[in-house]
Every structure is written in C-alpha cells, then in structure tokens.
Symmetry: C2
Subunit: 398 residues, 2 copies
C-alpha cells in the first residue's frame, strides 16, 4: 500500500543542498529545519502586522491545505480510481461547512451591517436553513453517487471526509472566534505551540536520552520537559510584552459608523497591572502584574502537557497509514498538517477557556437582545425584572 501514498520527501532547494553537502545528515536536517522555521516565524510576524483580516485569510488558507492533505491520504488509502464524484463531493462538503461556520461568525459580528443591504438580509436571517439545505444537497448527491462494489470505499471516504471536517473546519472556526476576542488570544497560544515544538526538538537534539513514547521514537523525556519549561517562560515574556499594546489586547469589533473592523478600546482589567498580595512563609508581599499572565500560565501548561498529544496522535495516524509526512510543502518539516497538528487542540482549549473563565454575558449584549423583542414583551420583561429586583431588595422604587 505504502508506495501509492504521498510520501513526504526531504526535498530541499538545490542551493542549500550544495552549501550543506559537507555536513552529516543529522546536522543537515537540523540546519534546513532551522532555516525554514525562521522563514515561517517571520512570515507569521508579517501576517500579524497585516492585521486581523490577513490573519483570517491565512487561517482559511491553512485550513483548506490541511483538509486537502488529509483527504489525499484517504484517496490513496482507499484507491479511489473510478469512484464517481468523490473529489467533488469532499470539496463540496468543505465549502458547505465553511459557509455554515464562517457565516455563524459573520452573523454575530457583521449581522447588523449585512442586514442593511436588503438583498442580503435573507442570508443573515435564514443562514442556518440555507446551510442545512446545502448540506442536504450534498447528502442526497452522495446517496445517488453510490455504486455497487464501491459501497464500502464510498462510506469509508464519507466518514473520512466528515472526520477531516470535524478536525479542520470546526477548529478553524474556533480560531477565528479567538482572533475576534483580541489578537493576544490567538498569537500567544499559537506561538506557545511553536515554541514548544522548537524547544522540545532542540532539547531533544542536544540532551535527549530517554525515549518518551513508543509512537514517536524520536521524542524524548528531556525534550518534553525542557520544552515545557521553555514554553512557560516564553509564554510569560510574550504575554508581558503584548499586554502593553491596544492592537493586541482589544477585541475586534465592527464599527458601523466607520464601516470597518476596529481594534480600539479601554483595555479590560486583564491587561492593566493589578496588585496581588502573596503570603510566603508568613511574610506578605505585594506584587504588581497583568492578570493575563496567570491565564498565560494555564495556556502554557496545557500547550506543553496536553499539546504534544496532538502531535503523538498525528504520528500514530501517519504510522497507521504508513506515511512519513502529511505532505512535502515545507522542506525539513513535511506538510502543513505536520506543523499544525497540535494547534487544533490548542485552539479548542483557548476557545473553551475564554468562554468559561473570561467572557461573561455582557449586559450590553443582553440589552441588545432585549431591544430585538416586541415592545410589549420588553415591557413584560421589564416588569418581571423589576419585581424580582424589588423582592431581593436590590432596588426600591416606592
């Protein structure tokens, strides 16, 4: 089977190959990996500089490429020669689910603006219904495309496509949501994973002795622990630095008056220095720091303890289907999916973390929802709220 599957090659630009021809293989790979890590990190910084829209477009592009890599493996595993419509169907499902998920985001943030244009209002109002219709078309199309003798392959690929969508599309939707909360919620976790990857590789390369897990023979305990510590320290430094700029800490909001996305706000208390009293051996000390640093700590611990399991999972998957890498886009690294395997789990963590610990229903958002009710319902709600507040002695109108 292996020979049909796309194999990540250690292909490298020719110039580099010649320059490094004197080095032993182990070091050659080290240098190449290093160079392309630098290139990717610089690219990442450039995209951040480009602002939230550039980031979202990048997230979309990465998502599509990851999907393509996963699906290609499915094609090869099940040898789809002769399977009718299969490629079109996978891409159709990708489109549909992106329409649904990105739409849900846009409805939340730009709903009011889009509704202004009469011809687009139905897109907002019936977004779920339209998405569901699109999905149904794909579903019916799949059933009609079923061909005797291929049933099992077709169903397997159907499942394969859906699992890929579950991993890739839903997570990239969560990533976009994180970006809207403020760029810091995107940059810090992403760079933590990158830092953990790089530092675990470095510590492993120089000090690695004890194998960590059977799945990935190259991973060592030394790399795991060293990478973990490096990530925690890096996370605190990066957070401390980013906390000081509105551009990173403010949520992204669509300004109706300006007609564009804005990153401007009075930073929330998370990003303003606060005093903490710490009792240590009986002596009490006051330290001043950004509350966000504590959240940064939780994120870095997650990214260095649970994060690597995303990588192990991907390694296991590659072994299961006997491939070396998901692709060969990035010399020394493999495919896009090889670099983003841990990012997906992390994105979900950050999203859940924000919704559980950071974002509380804001009174303003609720009030907007109340104003969408009919006047008599607003009145009814008002009276009930008044009674309840009086009962609890929070107000006294008489």
């Amino acid at each position: 089977m292996a020979k049909n599957l796309p194999q990540g090659t250690n292909k490298m630009p020719e110039v580099l190959g010649q320059a490094l021809s004197g080095l032993p293989d182990r070091w050659k790979n080290w240098v190449i990996r290093g160079i392309f890590t630098m290139i990717m990190i610089s690219g990442f910084c450039l995209i951040i500089y480009g602002g939230p829209l550039a980031l979202m477009v990048t997230a979309l592009a990465v998502q599509v490429k990851c999907f393509q890599e996963i699906i290609s493996i499915g094609y090869s595993v099940y040898r789809i020669h002769g399977l009718p419509w299969f490629r079109s169907l996978s891409w159709y499902f990708l489109l549909t689910s992106n329409y649904f998920f990105y739409g849900e985001n846009l409805v939340d943030y730009f709903g009011v603006a889009v509704s202004r244009v009469d011809s687009l209002r139905f897109l907002v109002k019936y977004h779920r219904f339209l998405s569901f219709c699109l999905y149904c078309i794909g579903f019916v199309w799949f059933v009609l495309s079923l061909v005797k003798k291929y049933y099992m392959k077709q169903f397997s690929l159907f499942a394969w496509t859906h699992v890929a969508l579950l991993i890739v599309v839903t997570q990239s939707y969560l990533i976009i949501q994180n970006i809207f909360e403020g760029l810091i919620w995107f940059i810090v976790p992403v760079s933590m994973i990158v830092c953990n990857d790089v530092m675990a590789y470095m510590f492993g390369f120089f000090f690695g002795r004890t194998p960590l897990i059977q799945l990935s023979p190259k991973k060592t305990w030394e790399g795991f622990i060293g990478g973990g510590f490096a990530t925690v320290i890096f996370g605190l430094l990066a957070s401390y630095f980013l906390c000081q700029f509105q551009f990173f800490v403010c949520p992204i909001e669509y300004s109706e008056t300006e007609g564009r996305m804005m990153i401007e706000c009075e930073p929330s208390y998370l990003f303003r220095p606060q005093e903490y009293n710490i009792a240590l051996f009986g002596a009490s000390k006051t330290i001043t720091m950004y509350p966000f640093l504590l959240h940064s700590l939780s994120m870095s611990i997650f990214s260095s303890v649970i994060g690597p399991f995303g990588g192990f999972f991907a390694s296991g998957f590659k072994r299961a289907f006997k491939i070396k890498d998901f692709g060969d886009m990035i010399p020394g690294h493999g495919g896009i999916m090889d670099r983003f395997d841990c990012q997906f789990l992390m994105a979900t963590f950050v999203n859940v973390y924000i919704s559980s610990f950071i974002r509380y229903a804001s009174p303003q958002k609720l009030l907007n929802m109340v104003y969408n009710l009919k006047p008599e319902e607003q009145l009814q709600l008002f009276n009930q709220l008044k009674d309840s507040l009086e009962e609890r002695n929070i107000i006294n109108l008489n």
Copy 2:
C-alpha cells in the same frame, strides 16, 4: 467477513410463528411487521402520555441503543480481538459527549435552578471547560492505548466512534431541543416519518412495480409517491388535531416557583385560527386555519422527499458492510437503528426550521440570562431598559 457480523434475524415469537404457519412468507412478514408496528405506535403514545420527561428519557435510551448498534458493527468489521481498551473508550466518548450536549440544554433551561445549590454552581459555570477536560482525558487515553500493529484498526475505530457520535448524540440533542419548543414539534415530525415509512411500505406492497433506486431493490416509485401523499394528508390532520391542546403546543418551561417543568401558556398565534385571504381565479375567498398547518406542510414535504434518503443511506451502509439489519431487537423490523435512520435527518431539519422561521428570542429565556448576571449588572441593565422604555413612551413611571 459477513459471518462475523451481527445479522438481523427474522426471529419471531413462537406463538406467532405457529399461528402464521399457513401463510406464504411474504404475508407472514407483512403480518409480523404490522403487529410490531402497532405495538411500537402504542408504546409511543403511552410515552407521550407520560409527558416530556418520559420522552427525553426515551430519546436518551434510543440514542444509546443506536450508538451500541453502530459501534458493534465497527467492532466486527475491524475484528477488535486484542485491541486494548477499545470498548471502554467508545463508551467513555459517548458519556462525555452526552454530558456536554445534555448539559448545554440543562444549562439553558435549568441553569438558574441548579445554580441555587452552591455545590453545583461550578457545574453550570464551567460546563464547557469540564466537558473539554473530559474529552481531553479520552483523547490522551486513546493515544496512550495505541499499540503497534493495531494502529490502523485503532484509528479507524476512533473515526467510526466519532462519526457515530456525530450522527447519534448531536441529533438526539437537537431532538431534546425540539421537545422543549413544544411537544407538537416533536410528535408531528416523528409520526410523519413513521407514517411515510408505513405507507410507502403499504403502497409498495400492494401497488409497487417500478424500482426506485438500485440501493434498496424493495423500494418502488409507487411506494415513494403514495407514501408522500399519505404523509402530507396525515401531517395536516395530525397537526389540526394537536393544535387544539395546550399540552402539545406550549413550550416546556421550568417554573421556578413550582420547582418543576410546566406546559402552560397562552398559545402563540401559530396555534390560534387565523383568517387567510386566498385569490383564486379572480374570486377572493377567506379561509380560517391554524398557521401551524403551513409549517406542517413544509415538514411533511421534507419528510417524504428528503427523509427517505436517510433510509437509502442506511441501506447503503448495511450493504457496504454486508449486514442485513443493524440489530434484531424488533421482529420484522430489525434493530432500533433500522427504524430511526430517517428520524435523525428530520430532527435536524425541524431544529433548523424552528431556529430560522419560528423561534424569536423568548422573554423568559432572556430574563433567565439576565438573572445570571451580577446583581449590580442586573441593576444597570434595568436602569438602561427603563430609560429606553420611557424615552419611547412605552412606560411612564412618574
């Protein structure tokens, strides 16, 4: 492979077997199927009589049984003898996702009540975070349980489990949501699918000539069309009947004062007769009917046009893995999954339909969200709402 897979047998109670021994096989199956259809329909009515809680428990039981049937097939296909932990892992993921989805419902409806009990408050507040932690445990457990030589089987079953969860758990979550909107939104669609199944079978049995689709050789165009018409008529009659009872049309709300679920309301205009002017051939006529009947029409059209594709999909799946039925729980019918294959798609349709065309934010739900704010925020919201209402001359408190 086929002999390892669970085969739906045409097992039947012995008494019945003897009584029907004179009939040809075709009719024997007809009678048995008929008897067990009656039994199931009566059971369904009994459960409805038992009220919303009984319905929810039933939905949960059906979900678990369906999951078990799908997973068992996976076990047999991939012959899991010796695969470590696999059964426990699938059930663990079922538990986790149920905890997440049912919790999301409960938080919406009973959040305020649960928050009263101090020791349970964190369950509401950190629901998503707790669910995600549970999922991460399962994920890490899976990675650690990976064993050389079994990688491919383990990953395939992992995907299999997740697709089963996607089909079974998420949909049963949508069903519970539909029940909360009012029993009619559950009973009408479910019985439409049943009616369509039964009538398509009957029309096919008596008049079937023209094969409909290669996948299910027993299905005919006569059954498809006859079943469709019967479903539309049945749907209108059933809706007309149910519209008259508060028990069926009122949303289910948790009453704090009573401490239990209540089905009492002023029926919304959907369930009160309205006058419609219809212009037909120049002559205009006024007819009076429940607006819900129009929605019933959309649902019956969906259930008779797209609904059967759920069944075709299941047939294809059974053929792909060379099994006759998903199980053998119901004589003449097969497994639970054989009877519920079309219900899942329908549940999603109804849910999306309600959220797109029916449900507008209800004052009660918003009020619950307001009560979850801090007291001072409640006060702030109250004052802003008061100012706005006064400004618009809706109230005058002075």
